[in-house]
Symmetry: C2
Subunit: 167 residues, 2 copies
DNA sequence: TGAATGTCGTCAAGTATCTTGACTATATGG
DNA sequence: CCATATAGTCAAGATACTTGACGACATTCA
Protein backbone atom coordinates (compact mmCIF):
# COMPACT_ATOMS: atom_id res chain seq x y z
CA UNK A 1 0.00 0.00 0.00
CA UNK A 2 2.80 2.38 0.85
CA UNK A 3 5.17 0.50 -1.35
CA UNK A 4 5.55 3.43 -3.70
CA UNK A 5 7.72 4.91 -1.03
CA UNK A 6 10.55 2.56 -1.82
CA UNK A 7 10.22 2.74 -5.58
CA UNK A 8 9.92 6.48 -5.69
CA UNK A 9 13.11 8.46 -6.24
CA UNK A 10 11.50 11.56 -4.80
CA UNK A 11 12.84 10.79 -1.34
CA UNK A 12 9.72 10.16 0.63
CA UNK A 13 10.53 9.38 4.22
CA UNK A 14 12.25 6.18 5.20
CA UNK A 15 13.53 6.61 8.72
CA UNK A 16 12.92 5.22 12.17
CA UNK A 17 10.13 7.58 13.04
CA UNK A 18 8.21 6.88 9.88
CA UNK A 19 8.65 3.15 10.19
CA UNK A 20 7.66 3.15 13.83
CA UNK A 21 4.60 5.20 12.99
CA UNK A 22 3.54 2.87 10.20
CA UNK A 23 4.09 -0.25 12.27
CA UNK A 24 2.31 1.19 15.26
CA UNK A 25 -0.68 2.35 13.23
CA UNK A 26 -0.95 -1.03 11.54
CA UNK A 27 -0.84 -2.84 14.87
CA UNK A 28 -3.49 -0.62 16.38
CA UNK A 29 -5.79 -0.95 13.39
CA UNK A 30 -5.48 -4.72 13.45
CA UNK A 31 -5.99 -4.93 17.19
CA UNK A 32 -8.96 -2.59 17.31
CA UNK A 33 -10.62 -4.35 14.38
CA UNK A 34 -10.20 -7.71 16.09
CA UNK A 35 -11.57 -6.38 19.36
CA UNK A 36 -14.60 -4.87 17.73
CA UNK A 37 -15.12 -8.08 15.79
CA UNK A 38 -15.01 -9.88 19.15
CA UNK A 39 -17.99 -7.84 20.32
CA UNK A 40 -16.18 -4.99 22.08
CA UNK A 41 -17.70 -2.19 20.08
CA UNK A 42 -16.70 0.37 22.70
CA UNK A 43 -13.04 -0.27 21.96
CA UNK A 44 -11.09 2.69 20.59
CA UNK A 45 -7.44 3.55 20.28
CA UNK A 46 -7.53 6.31 22.87
CA UNK A 47 -9.27 4.08 25.39
CA UNK A 48 -6.80 1.28 24.71
CA UNK A 49 -3.96 3.67 25.44
CA UNK A 50 -5.44 4.42 28.81
CA UNK A 51 -6.35 0.83 29.68
CA UNK A 52 -2.74 -0.09 29.03
CA UNK A 53 -1.88 1.88 32.15
CA UNK A 54 -4.50 0.31 34.40
CA UNK A 55 -3.42 -2.82 36.22
CA UNK A 56 -5.85 -5.65 36.70
CA UNK A 57 -5.81 -4.88 40.40
CA UNK A 58 -6.88 -1.31 39.82
CA UNK A 59 -5.09 1.96 40.32
CA UNK A 60 -5.58 5.35 41.89
CA UNK A 61 -6.76 7.94 39.42
CA UNK A 62 -3.94 10.25 40.41
CA UNK A 63 -1.39 7.52 39.72
CA UNK A 64 -2.96 7.02 36.34
CA UNK A 65 -2.49 10.71 35.68
CA UNK A 66 1.21 10.56 36.52
CA UNK A 67 1.66 7.53 34.35
CA UNK A 68 -0.10 8.80 31.25
CA UNK A 69 1.17 11.53 29.01
CA UNK A 70 -2.15 13.37 28.73
CA UNK A 71 -3.91 15.88 30.95
CA UNK A 72 -5.89 14.80 33.97
CA UNK A 73 -9.03 16.21 32.40
CA UNK A 74 -8.55 14.08 29.31
CA UNK A 75 -8.09 11.04 31.52
CA UNK A 76 -11.22 11.86 33.38
CA UNK A 77 -13.20 12.11 30.18
CA UNK A 78 -11.87 8.78 28.97
CA UNK A 79 -12.71 7.23 32.33
CA UNK A 80 -16.19 8.72 32.17
CA UNK A 81 -16.67 6.97 28.87
CA UNK A 82 -15.26 3.66 30.06
CA UNK A 83 -17.42 3.86 33.16
CA UNK A 84 -20.51 4.54 31.07
CA UNK A 85 -19.64 1.50 28.97
CA UNK A 86 -19.35 -0.61 32.10
CA UNK A 87 -15.66 -1.41 31.61
CA UNK A 88 -14.33 0.21 34.77
CA UNK A 89 -15.82 1.59 37.95
CA UNK A 90 -14.60 4.31 40.29
CA UNK A 91 -14.68 3.84 44.05
CA UNK A 92 -13.68 6.26 46.78
CA UNK A 93 -10.19 5.65 48.11
CA UNK A 94 -10.58 4.54 51.74
CA UNK A 95 -7.15 5.98 52.58
CA UNK A 96 -7.68 9.41 51.07
CA UNK A 97 -10.97 11.21 51.01
CA UNK A 98 -9.94 13.09 47.89
CA UNK A 99 -8.84 10.09 45.86
CA UNK A 100 -10.64 7.55 43.76
CA UNK A 101 -9.73 4.02 42.80
CA UNK A 102 -10.26 2.86 39.24
CA UNK A 103 -11.10 -0.82 38.94
CA UNK A 104 -12.15 -3.14 36.15
CA UNK A 105 -15.64 -4.53 36.17
CA UNK A 106 -16.12 -8.18 35.26
CA UNK A 107 -17.04 -7.00 31.78
CA UNK A 108 -13.77 -5.11 31.67
CA UNK A 109 -11.81 -8.16 32.76
CA UNK A 110 -13.51 -10.21 30.06
CA UNK A 111 -12.38 -7.65 27.51
CA UNK A 112 -8.83 -7.85 28.85
CA UNK A 113 -8.84 -11.59 28.36
CA UNK A 114 -10.01 -11.19 24.79
CA UNK A 115 -7.34 -8.56 24.35
CA UNK A 116 -4.64 -10.96 25.50
CA UNK A 117 -5.85 -13.57 23.07
CA UNK A 118 -5.90 -11.12 20.17
CA UNK A 119 -2.45 -9.82 21.08
CA UNK A 120 -1.01 -13.30 21.00
CA UNK A 121 -2.62 -14.03 17.67
CA UNK A 122 -1.23 -10.88 16.11
CA UNK A 123 2.17 -11.59 17.57
CA UNK A 124 2.11 -15.04 16.06
CA UNK A 125 1.34 -13.53 12.66
CA UNK A 126 4.23 -11.16 13.09
CA UNK A 127 6.61 -13.99 13.89
CA UNK A 128 5.34 -15.85 10.85
CA UNK A 129 5.98 -12.81 8.70
CA UNK A 130 9.46 -11.80 9.73
CA UNK A 131 10.78 -14.86 11.53
CA UNK A 132 11.40 -15.56 15.17
CA UNK A 133 14.92 -14.21 15.20
CA UNK A 134 14.01 -10.90 13.70
CA UNK A 135 11.01 -10.59 15.94
CA UNK A 136 13.12 -11.14 19.04
CA UNK A 137 15.60 -8.56 17.79
CA UNK A 138 12.75 -6.13 17.22
CA UNK A 139 11.43 -6.54 20.74
CA UNK A 140 14.88 -6.21 22.23
CA UNK A 141 15.64 -3.05 20.31
CA UNK A 142 12.28 -1.50 21.19
CA UNK A 143 12.73 -2.30 24.85
CA UNK A 144 16.20 -0.82 24.89
CA UNK A 145 14.98 2.23 23.05
CA UNK A 146 12.11 2.96 25.38
CA UNK A 147 14.25 2.32 28.43
CA UNK A 148 16.90 4.66 27.04
CA UNK A 149 14.30 7.31 26.37
CA UNK A 150 13.00 7.16 29.90
CA UNK A 151 16.53 7.53 31.22
CA UNK A 152 17.25 10.43 28.88
CA UNK A 153 14.10 12.14 30.03
CA UNK A 154 15.10 11.79 33.66
CA UNK A 155 18.47 13.34 32.91
CA UNK A 156 16.97 16.19 30.97
CA UNK A 157 14.41 16.97 33.62
CA UNK A 158 15.03 20.56 34.62
CA UNK A 159 17.99 20.90 32.31
CA UNK A 160 16.65 21.34 28.81
CA UNK A 161 13.26 22.49 29.87
CA UNK A 162 10.19 22.08 27.74
CA UNK A 163 11.40 19.66 25.12
CA UNK A 164 9.59 16.79 26.76
CA UNK A 165 5.90 17.00 27.32
CA UNK A 166 5.57 17.57 31.07
CA UNK A 167 2.24 16.30 32.38
CA UNK B 1 6.44 -12.52 24.67
CA UNK B 2 3.17 -11.63 26.29
CA UNK B 3 4.30 -13.98 28.97
CA UNK B 4 4.05 -11.66 31.92
CA UNK B 5 0.34 -11.48 31.44
CA UNK B 6 0.05 -15.20 31.96
CA UNK B 7 2.55 -15.48 34.75
CA UNK B 8 1.55 -12.41 36.60
CA UNK B 9 -1.95 -11.09 36.11
CA UNK B 10 -0.91 -7.81 37.66
CA UNK B 11 1.64 -6.96 35.03
CA UNK B 12 1.21 -4.04 32.71
CA UNK B 13 1.42 -4.82 29.02
CA UNK B 14 4.69 -5.72 27.38
CA UNK B 15 4.08 -6.78 23.82
CA UNK B 16 4.93 -5.60 20.32
CA UNK B 17 1.96 -3.34 19.96
CA UNK B 18 2.58 -1.57 23.21
CA UNK B 19 6.27 -1.14 22.54
CA UNK B 20 5.67 0.10 19.03
CA UNK B 21 3.13 2.57 20.36
CA UNK B 22 5.45 3.86 23.04
CA UNK B 23 8.39 4.17 20.68
CA UNK B 24 6.30 5.85 18.02
CA UNK B 25 4.78 8.34 20.45
CA UNK B 26 8.18 9.15 21.88
CA UNK B 27 9.62 9.75 18.44
CA UNK B 28 6.77 11.98 17.42
CA UNK B 29 6.92 13.99 20.61
CA UNK B 30 10.65 14.51 20.22
CA UNK B 31 10.37 15.42 16.57
CA UNK B 32 7.47 17.82 17.00
CA UNK B 33 9.15 19.51 19.95
CA UNK B 34 12.35 19.99 17.96
CA UNK B 35 10.44 21.36 14.99
CA UNK B 36 8.52 23.82 17.09
CA UNK B 37 11.73 24.79 18.82
CA UNK B 38 13.19 25.43 15.35
CA UNK B 39 10.46 27.99 14.73
CA UNK B 40 7.89 25.82 12.99
CA UNK B 41 5.06 26.46 15.40
CA UNK B 42 2.50 25.23 12.88
CA UNK B 43 3.94 21.74 13.10
CA UNK B 44 1.61 19.05 14.42
CA UNK B 45 1.54 15.30 14.33
CA UNK B 46 -1.44 15.08 11.98
CA UNK B 47 0.11 17.51 9.54
CA UNK B 48 3.39 15.62 9.69
CA UNK B 49 1.56 12.44 8.81
CA UNK B 50 0.20 14.10 5.70
CA UNK B 51 3.43 15.83 4.69
CA UNK B 52 5.10 12.44 4.82
CA UNK B 53 3.05 11.56 1.75
CA UNK B 54 3.83 14.69 -0.26
CA UNK B 55 6.91 14.50 -2.43
CA UNK B 56 9.12 17.52 -2.80
CA UNK B 57 8.03 17.72 -6.41
CA UNK B 58 4.39 17.96 -5.42
CA UNK B 59 1.51 15.59 -5.92
CA UNK B 60 -2.04 15.54 -7.17
CA UNK B 61 -4.54 15.87 -4.36
CA UNK B 62 -6.34 12.76 -5.56
CA UNK B 63 -3.10 10.77 -5.43
CA UNK B 64 -2.60 12.00 -1.90
CA UNK B 65 -6.03 10.69 -1.04
CA UNK B 66 -5.23 7.23 -2.36
CA UNK B 67 -1.98 7.17 -0.51
CA UNK B 68 -3.22 8.28 2.89
CA UNK B 69 -5.38 6.22 5.17
CA UNK B 70 -7.84 9.01 5.99
CA UNK B 71 -10.86 10.45 4.21
CA UNK B 72 -10.52 12.95 1.41
CA UNK B 73 -12.36 15.52 3.51
CA UNK B 74 -9.87 15.13 6.33
CA UNK B 75 -7.04 15.58 3.86
CA UNK B 76 -8.67 18.66 2.50
CA UNK B 77 -8.99 20.17 5.93
CA UNK B 78 -5.35 19.44 6.70
CA UNK B 79 -4.36 20.97 3.37
CA UNK B 80 -6.50 24.01 4.12
CA UNK B 81 -4.55 24.46 7.31
CA UNK B 82 -1.17 23.93 5.68
CA UNK B 83 -2.10 26.33 2.92
CA UNK B 84 -3.18 28.96 5.45
CA UNK B 85 0.17 28.51 7.19
CA UNK B 86 1.94 29.02 3.89
CA UNK B 87 3.53 25.57 3.82
CA UNK B 88 1.91 24.30 0.65
CA UNK B 89 -0.07 25.81 -2.20
CA UNK B 90 -2.71 24.34 -4.47
CA UNK B 91 -2.63 24.96 -8.19
CA UNK B 92 -5.05 23.80 -10.85
CA UNK B 93 -3.89 20.69 -12.67
CA UNK B 94 -3.25 21.75 -16.29
CA UNK B 95 -4.06 18.24 -17.48
CA UNK B 96 -7.37 17.87 -15.65
CA UNK B 97 -9.76 20.70 -14.99
CA UNK B 98 -11.07 18.92 -11.92
CA UNK B 99 -7.74 18.21 -10.30
CA UNK B 100 -5.38 20.22 -8.16
CA UNK B 101 -1.68 19.96 -7.60
CA UNK B 102 -0.31 20.29 -4.10
CA UNK B 103 3.13 21.85 -3.98
CA UNK B 104 5.46 23.04 -1.26
CA UNK B 105 6.11 26.74 -0.92
CA UNK B 106 9.65 27.86 -0.25
CA UNK B 107 8.67 28.13 3.41
CA UNK B 108 7.50 24.52 3.23
CA UNK B 109 10.75 23.40 1.66
CA UNK B 110 12.68 25.18 4.39
CA UNK B 111 10.68 23.26 6.94
CA UNK B 112 11.44 20.00 5.16
CA UNK B 113 15.14 20.74 5.35
CA UNK B 114 14.89 21.41 9.06
CA UNK B 115 12.90 18.23 9.36
CA UNK B 116 15.64 16.23 7.70
CA UNK B 117 18.20 17.70 10.04
CA UNK B 118 16.11 16.93 13.11
CA UNK B 119 15.43 13.42 11.90
CA UNK B 120 19.12 12.72 11.52
CA UNK B 121 19.86 14.11 14.95
CA UNK B 122 17.24 11.94 16.57
CA UNK B 123 18.45 8.93 14.67
CA UNK B 124 21.97 9.60 15.90
CA UNK B 125 20.71 9.70 19.48
CA UNK B 126 18.95 6.42 18.93
CA UNK B 127 22.12 4.80 17.64
CA UNK B 128 23.97 6.16 20.65
CA UNK B 129 21.40 4.70 22.97
CA UNK B 130 21.00 1.18 21.66
CA UNK B 131 24.06 0.69 19.48
CA UNK B 132 24.50 0.57 15.74
CA UNK B 133 23.89 -3.12 15.45
CA UNK B 134 20.63 -3.07 17.32
CA UNK B 135 19.49 -0.03 15.43
CA UNK B 136 20.14 -1.71 12.10
CA UNK B 137 18.26 -4.76 13.30
CA UNK B 138 15.38 -2.56 14.36
CA UNK B 139 15.13 -0.88 11.00
CA UNK B 140 15.36 -4.19 9.18
CA UNK B 141 12.65 -5.77 11.28
CA UNK B 142 10.37 -2.77 10.89
CA UNK B 143 10.84 -2.70 7.15
CA UNK B 144 10.12 -6.40 6.86
CA UNK B 145 7.09 -6.04 9.06
CA UNK B 146 5.55 -3.20 7.11
CA UNK B 147 6.30 -4.90 3.80
CA UNK B 148 4.71 -8.08 5.13
CA UNK B 149 1.68 -6.17 6.26
CA UNK B 150 1.23 -4.56 2.87
CA UNK B 151 1.46 -7.98 1.24
CA UNK B 152 -1.00 -9.50 3.69
CA UNK B 153 -3.39 -6.65 3.02
CA UNK B 154 -3.18 -7.17 -0.70
CA UNK B 155 -3.98 -10.85 -0.22
CA UNK B 156 -6.87 -10.15 2.09
CA UNK B 157 -8.39 -7.54 -0.17
CA UNK B 158 -11.92 -8.65 -0.85
CA UNK B 159 -11.53 -11.84 1.12
CA UNK B 160 -11.75 -10.93 4.79
CA UNK B 161 -13.55 -7.68 4.23
CA UNK B 162 -13.42 -4.78 6.62
CA UNK B 163 -10.56 -5.77 8.86
CA UNK B 164 -8.25 -3.28 7.24
CA UNK B 165 -9.10 0.36 6.98
CA UNK B 166 -10.04 0.91 3.36
CA UNK B 167 -9.34 4.38 2.07
C1' DT C 1 -5.66 24.47 66.60
C1' DG C 2 -6.13 26.62 62.72
C1' DA C 3 -4.43 29.04 58.63
C1' DA C 4 -1.71 28.61 54.54
C1' DT C 5 -0.62 25.63 51.05
C1' DG C 6 -0.79 21.66 48.14
C1' DT C 7 -3.14 17.58 46.01
C1' DC C 8 -7.32 15.19 43.86
C1' DG C 9 -10.88 15.21 41.17
C1' DT C 10 -14.52 17.82 38.57
C1' DC C 11 -16.91 21.28 35.61
C1' DA C 12 -16.88 24.21 31.64
C1' DA C 13 -15.50 25.79 27.33
C1' DG C 14 -12.62 25.66 23.34
C1' DT C 15 -9.53 23.41 19.59
C1' DA C 16 -7.70 19.87 16.43
C1' DT C 17 -8.58 15.99 13.91
C1' DC C 18 -11.25 13.06 12.09
C1' DT C 19 -16.06 11.16 10.21
C1' DT C 20 -20.34 10.75 6.84
C1' DG C 21 -23.53 12.84 3.61
C1' DA C 22 -24.67 15.88 0.02
C1' DC C 23 -23.28 18.66 -3.67
C1' DT C 24 -20.78 20.98 -8.00
C1' DA C 25 -17.73 20.80 -11.79
C1' DT C 26 -15.24 18.35 -14.99
C1' DA C 27 -13.93 14.13 -17.68
C1' DT C 28 -14.87 10.00 -20.33
C1' DG C 29 -16.90 6.50 -23.15
C1' DG C 30 -20.57 4.99 -25.77
C1' DC D 1 -25.21 14.38 -26.28
C1' DC D 2 -25.94 11.57 -22.36
C1' DA D 3 -24.78 8.49 -18.57
C1' DT D 4 -21.66 7.66 -15.39
C1' DA D 5 -17.47 8.11 -12.87
C1' DT D 6 -13.92 11.08 -10.73
C1' DA D 7 -11.97 15.44 -8.22
C1' DG D 8 -12.76 18.47 -5.06
C1' DT D 9 -15.74 21.24 -1.74
C1' DC D 10 -19.27 22.43 1.84
C1' DA D 11 -21.62 21.35 6.03
C1' DA D 12 -22.50 19.14 10.25
C1' DG D 13 -21.23 16.13 13.87
C1' DA D 14 -18.16 12.89 16.91
C1' DT D 15 -13.97 12.02 19.38
C1' DA D 16 -10.02 13.13 21.74
C1' DC D 17 -7.72 16.20 23.45
C1' DT D 18 -6.47 21.24 25.66
C1' DT D 19 -6.45 25.21 29.38
C1' DG D 20 -8.65 27.55 33.19
C1' DA D 21 -11.33 27.76 37.29
C1' DC D 22 -13.02 25.61 41.21
C1' DG D 23 -14.50 22.78 45.53
C1' DA D 24 -13.21 19.15 48.72
C1' DC D 25 -9.92 17.12 51.34
C1' DA D 26 -4.92 16.60 53.28
C1' DT D 27 -0.69 18.23 55.16
C1' DT D 28 2.38 21.35 57.29
C1' DC D 29 3.80 24.34 60.60
C1' DA D 30 3.61 28.45 63.64
Amino acid sequence: MVKELDENPEALPDHVGWRLWQASRAWQAEFAAAMRAAGHGWFTEARAGLLGHIERSGIRQSALIERSAISKQAIQQLLDGLEAEGIVERLPDPHDGRGKLVRYTSKGLDALRDGDRVKMEIERHYVDRIGEERFTALMGALRALVAGQAAAMDEDAGVEGEVVESK
